[in-house]
Symmetry: C2
Subunit: 207 residues, 2 copies
């Protein structure tokens, strides 16, 4: 019996199944490796299944991008909200972000590649852009929350500080992904946290 008939499943479920498989394939071999055959195989489905879940490979890629970038948001900066000391909070959050990357470098290499490809592709550029804005906004929200809970206002605009924190985390993780140097990453986190906290909390010391 060459053909095993499979159970009928709602399309949404099959799509998720294929997206999961696509991530698995890409984790190993990068975006290039994600052919429709490889993805369908990994999902345990015949290659033909691909095309009644997605109109084309491009459509799947777009769906994947949206799903993964959204998921990778997480609550990265949550740690800040739970400390009284800004420096401690920033350092803890940066360490948490680094730990997530260290625990699954392939996945984070993949999201970086996804963002690059999206930024270069006209039909996808808005996804990368929207994702970045959402990430900054979420960080901003946590900073305001911290500000309220502590009472003392920041001496810099929270939105601006959020932007810088996001840039700092992306710079540190990308350095780590290239060099895999734990000590360098932790030293950088310590210095950055301290520098930014001093700046953000300073009551014009020299005025």
């Amino acid at each position: 019996m060459a053909s095993t008939t499979r159970e009928h499943r709602p399309t949404a479920e099959r799509r998720a199944q294929l997206l999961d498989a696509a991530v698995a394939v890409m984790r190993d071999g990068g975006i290039q490796a994600a052919t429709t055959r490889a993805v369908a195989d990994r999902a345990g489905l015949p290659q033909g299944a691909f095309h009644y879940c997605f109109r084309s490979k491009d459509e799947m890629f777009s769906a994947l991008l949206e799903r993964e970038l959204d998921a990778s948001l997480g609550n990265a900066w949550e740690a800040v909200a739970h400390t009284r000391d800004l420096e401690t909070g920033i350092a803890a959050a940066l360490r948490a972000i680094l730990d997530r990357v260290r625990s699954d470098p392939e996945y984070h290499l993949l999201t970086a590649e996804l963002v690059d490809v999206a930024a270069r592709t006209p039909e996808l550029a808005h996804i990368a852009s929207r994702e970045h804005t959402a990430y900054v906004d979420q960080t901003d929200r946590i900073l305001r929350q911290w500000q309220e809970s502590v009472g003392t206002p920041l001496s810099v605009d929270s939105q601006l500080l959020a932007q810088v924190l996001v840039a700092a985390s992306s710079g540190i993780t990308s350095a780590w992904l290239s060099a895999r140097d734990d000590e360098a990453a932790h030293e950088s986190i310590a210095l950055l946290s301290s520098a930014l906290a001093v700046k953000a909390a300073q009551q014009d010391l020299r005025a």
Copy 2:
């Protein structure tokens, strides 16, 4: 006459010609677009030419990676050496880096993609790693130079500051490449320069 005979050229020259063409093709369509045919076409050579310049596509990719990453080093942090004030120097250097990216976003998107792919590919990972180290070392050298010319020593290790500066620049450029927000980038540069300069030059103000 369907076949125009071409002049004989040293292999090194042909290789450079193909690498240039590969960059041109990738700038437009990303790494995926760089098929041996597309690259040879862009170079004005027949597809067969590819294989007496490079043993395989992988070999070309490796050569390309090495050449482009090395070229993209530039003297990015040179600006620091030429100012007495560290904050001014850091800000100028970061703005110069951002300007280079703004003047050719496609190229810098490409180098980012190259680094990602290299970091994931076992045979290429060392190139990305070595490149990153070289970049930090070069920045460190400029910081030491500044330190000597100014007389006052930094209050943080110059190598560490160099690491952080490299991370900061990569975070800011990658944010800009996603969101294309000039104002945000310049604000971030100002805040980071100020925060890091205060930290790096502080004579233990609170001691």
